[in-house]
């Protein structure tokens, strides 16, 4: 009886100490790896309902309704004054030039990110 009580008590203590040790170790490792990312605000607020000025697949300016209805008006030949969110100016059509060696390098994605930061982009037809 006495033997079993001491046995289980020591086992409990050892388990508690070890689990605490490994738990703290794991938590410290996880904390050191996690980095806070800079969150960019979305281009369109989630609750927005209304017109958005942007580019279509061919690169022409259009007004598109942001809501339950699918509506798109081509506006490249007319000048409409609205309170639309202007995404056409915020992110214009872009074309980026790369060489084979840049594309084949190990740090290719880093180079693309650096390019996108450096160059605002060549406007189509510009």
């Amino acid at each position: 009886m006495v033997y079993s009580i001491t046995y289980y008590a020591t086992e409990f203590l050892v388990r508690a100490v070890l689990s605490l040790y490994y738990g703290i170790k794991e938590w410290l490792e996880r904390v050191s790896h996690v980095e806070e990312k800079e969150m960019k605000p979305p281009l369109v607020p989630p609750s927005y309902v209304g017109w958005i000025r942007k580019h279509d697949e061919a690169g022409n300016e259009v007004l598109e309704w942001y809501g339950n209805i699918n509506a798109r008006i081509p506006t490249s030949h007319i000048d409409i004054v609205t309170n639309a969110i202007n995404l056409a100016e915020k992110s214009p059509p872009t074309r980026r030039y790369m060489t084979f060696s840049e594309m084949a390098s190990k740090n290719w994605f880093k180079e693309v990110e650096a390019l996108s930061k450096m160059i605002k982009g060549e406007k189509k037809g510009g």
């Binding site: 992110s91 030039y97 060696s101």
Partner: protein, 140 residues
């Protein structure tokens, strides 16, 4: 719809290597492939390629970096020649991210298909196309 436009020439060994290594992968990735034959005696012999415009002094003045602009005066004669020449192969990837069309132009390709550079290129290119397809799916 992700489009891949390849500008090449049937007599060019670089273009042959590109077709040999890249076309099967593009077919497997299920993207729209468009092959333009330029240069030489082709019908579109006088058509410009997508990449040589970057050598033109006007382009460098408008979109080039500060380092490019500093050396513009020294190299203007060579740049004028390179800007007018037709170079191939050129790969253009085109997609629509929901706001505007985006394009990436890649110029040049080596002749040796089995080189480690080509393997790295294909690995990067495949992951790039998969990423672009995901972006386009999310925008719809």
């Amino acid at each position: 719809m992700v489009e891949v436009i390849i500008q090449d020439n049937p007599l060019c060994p670089h273009c042959e290597a590109l077709r040999k290594s890249l076309l099967p992968i593009l077919k497997r990735l299920d993207v729209v492939i468009d092959e333009h034959i330029i240069g030489g005696h082709s019908l579109s012999a006088f058509e410009e390629d997508y990449a040589s415009a970057t050598y033109k002094p006007e382009w460098i003045e408008a979109f080039g970096s500060n380092e490019m602009k500093k050396k513009l005066k020294e190299l203007s004669s060579i740049l004028n020649y390179l800007g007018g020449a037709v170079s191939f192969p050129v790969i253009k990837v085109r997609w629509y991210d929901g706001v505007a069309p985006r394009e990436v132009v890649i110029k040049g390709f080596p002749t040796d298909v089995d080189s480690p550079d080509v393997k790295a290129f294909i690995k990067n290119f495949t992951s790039f196309i998969q990423m672009v397809k995901k972006v386009e799916e999310e925008s719809q």
